[in-house]
């Protein structure tokens, strides 16, 4: 599992840092390193760019996995740089930003936009495969998620926009239901596609979703 991110434009980061001149930068050694959005190289590049627009970088670090609880220790090790900074710029996905926010009272600014949870098809090419909807349908859809792979998230078959097995929104993208049909047909399980799916339950649990694994 990877949290796929992209860097925000420097102008947007600058805007959020208005009046905050001293900044400590935190990167992430896991997903953001793999997506080349918040690893060591990108953190150093950001340092240079921020200095170029007149900001003072008090320190930087790349936390092994910014979203886990070890982040607290890593932050403590960088306490000096954090203390003298006005704000923290986090170059991880939103999960890492949340983790940092829970330990630091200073303004925490995200340098990345979190796009989706995806898998890497080939080096540098990521694909969204799960929308974390809380009601997995993969057993009925031949392992292709219609919530994620269909632009409209349809659960009862294709819309009228499907065209030669492609999607009306993007001719380069496969129609999820064409794929599901092909795979179910191969498996001799088209009866699953014929089954009426009732309206989805969007309230699996009220947000924010919390779970305790005992």
């Amino acid at each position: 599992m990877k949290s796929i991110t992209k860097q925000k434009a420097l102008e947007e980061i600058e805007e959020q840092m208005e009046g905050l001149e001293r900044v400590c930068i935190i990167g992430c050694g896991t997903c953001a390193t793999m997506t080349r959005t918040g690893g060591r190289e990108e953190v150093l590049d950001m340092k240079e760019r921020l200095e170029g627009v007149g900001k003072m970088v008090t320190g930087w670090t790349v936390i092994p996995t910014a979203c886990d609880e070890m982040t607290e220790i890593a932050l403590r090790q960088n306490n000096g740089a954090i203390q003298i900074a006005n704000c923290i710029l986090v170059m991880s996905c939103a999960l890492g930003v949340h983790r940092v926010v829970s330990y630091i009272d200073k303004p925490v600014i995200p340098a990345l936009d979190t796009l989706f949870i995806g898998v890497e098809d080939s080096p540098g090419n990521f694909r969204e495969v799960c929308a974390q909807c809380g009601q997995c349908l993969l057993g009925e859809t031949a392992g292709i998620c219609p919530i994620t792979a269909c632009h409209k998230g349809l659960v009862n078959g294709p819309c009228g926009g499907t065209n030669n097995g492609k999607c009306e929104v993007d001719k380069e993208k496969d129609c999820a239901w064409a794929l599901i049909y092909q795979r179910l047909e191969k498996q001799g399980r088209l009866n699953l596609m014929r089954r009426y799916q009732p309206p989805r339950n969007f309230q699996v649990t009220p947000r924010p979703r919390i779970t305790a694994i005992l």
């Binding site: 632009h151 409209k152 998230g153 349809l154 659960v155 009862n156 078959g157 294709p158 819309c159 009228g160 926009g161 499907t162 065209n163 030669n164 097995g165 009306e168 929104v169 239901w177 064409a178 049909y181 047909e185 088209l190 596609m193 014929r194 009426y196 799916q197 009732p198 309206p199 989805r200 969007f202």
Partner: protein, 297 residues
């Protein structure tokens, strides 16, 4: 209009419906003019629901105008813009205002329209919307709560007989029938042999099918639709016919082609009627009907 759309469907006559595109704005003069022009020539008039995800005057508003002008409206409802509360509420309102026909569609995707940053809803899909109508008719809403006054609709859906591949579409068609569709309007058809094959399949089910007739106005438009509109394939011979028409005569050629198709469908009893989509050329729908040999009324 003396006969309801449902009665017309069940009468065994060759049913004709057409479509009104509502304005982008509050000037409904042109729409009212089109309604007046067509009301005595068709068995029902659809009003599109933000077709191609382009924001316009609503389908329900257009249907009320049709009703006021003594014609039979067919409310188009897509699942793109409203969640299940809003869809049900609109059905309640429509029913109290005398609207008795609903066409259930999934709806085009937002990125093809003119509000590309809007949030898409798709809380329900077209099959689920049909099912919701049947549930409201039973006196209960989708939450299972009792209604104080139920609805009753003649509910329909769409199907794309020329979709490639066709099999997934047919499964969806079956599901729509099961969910309660009484009639189907098809995406534009141009290949009558292919459509006849589809009708052989559809005839297994107790539903009425109105063939979609989209007026071709030029060879360019025919080519554009074939290349860009899902499920529309204009055969090369029709494109050639349009291209070969004398300058300024392509529209008349298109009217002739549409009229001929309707006449063939009727003569060979291929389907139960037609749904004519003139897309911005509503003025010439009477000419298409004349070319088809269908007299007024």
């Amino acid at each position: 209009m003396a006969t309801s759309f449902k009665d017309a469907l069940n009468s065994g006559k060759f049913v004709v419906t057409s479509e009104i595109g509502p304005p982008k704005g509050t000037n409904v003069d042109k729409m009212c003019h089109h309604i007046d022009l067509l009301k005595d020539k068709v068995d029902g008039l659809n009003v599109t629901d933000h077709q191609s995800s382009v924001m316009r005057f609503p389908s329900l508003g257009g249907c009320l105008l049709i009703k006021e002008r003594d014609c039979e409206p067919i409310l188009q409802m897509t699942c793109r813009d409203r969640n299940r509360l809003a869809l049900q509420a609109e059905l309640l309102l429509a029913y109290t205002r005398g609207i008795r026909n609903v066409l259930c569609l999934t709806g085009d995707a937002i990125p093809v329209g003119d509000h590309k940053e809007a949030k898409e809803v798709f809380d329900l899909d077209s099959a689920q919307l049909l099912s919701a109508i049947r549930q409201l008719e039973s006196g209960k809403d989708l939450g299972g709560n009792d209604l104080d006054g139920a609805v009753q609709f003649c509910a329909g859906a769409i199907v794309t007989p020329e979709a490639r591949p066709i099999e997934p579409q047919l499964i969806k068609f079956d599901k729509k029938v099961e969910a309660g569709a009484e009639f189907f309007q098809t995406q534009a058809i141009y290949d009558l042999d292919n459509f006849s094959k589809f009708m052989q399949y559809a005839r297994q089910f107790p539903v009425k099918v109105l063939a979609g007739i989209v007026l071709l106005v030029s060879a360019r438009m025919a080519k554009y639709m074939t290349e860009n509109i899902p499920g529309i394939f204009v055969p090369q011979n029709l494109i050639d016919e349009l291209a070969g028409a004398p300058k300024g005569e392509a529209l008349n050629k298109g009217i002739e082609i549409a009229g001929q198709m309707i006449a063939d469908l009727k003569k060979n009893s291929i389907c139960d009627g037609v749904h004519i989509m003139a897309i911005g050329r509503e003025e010439v729908v009477p000419d298409i009907l004349a070319a088809a040999g269908l007299s007024a009324g």
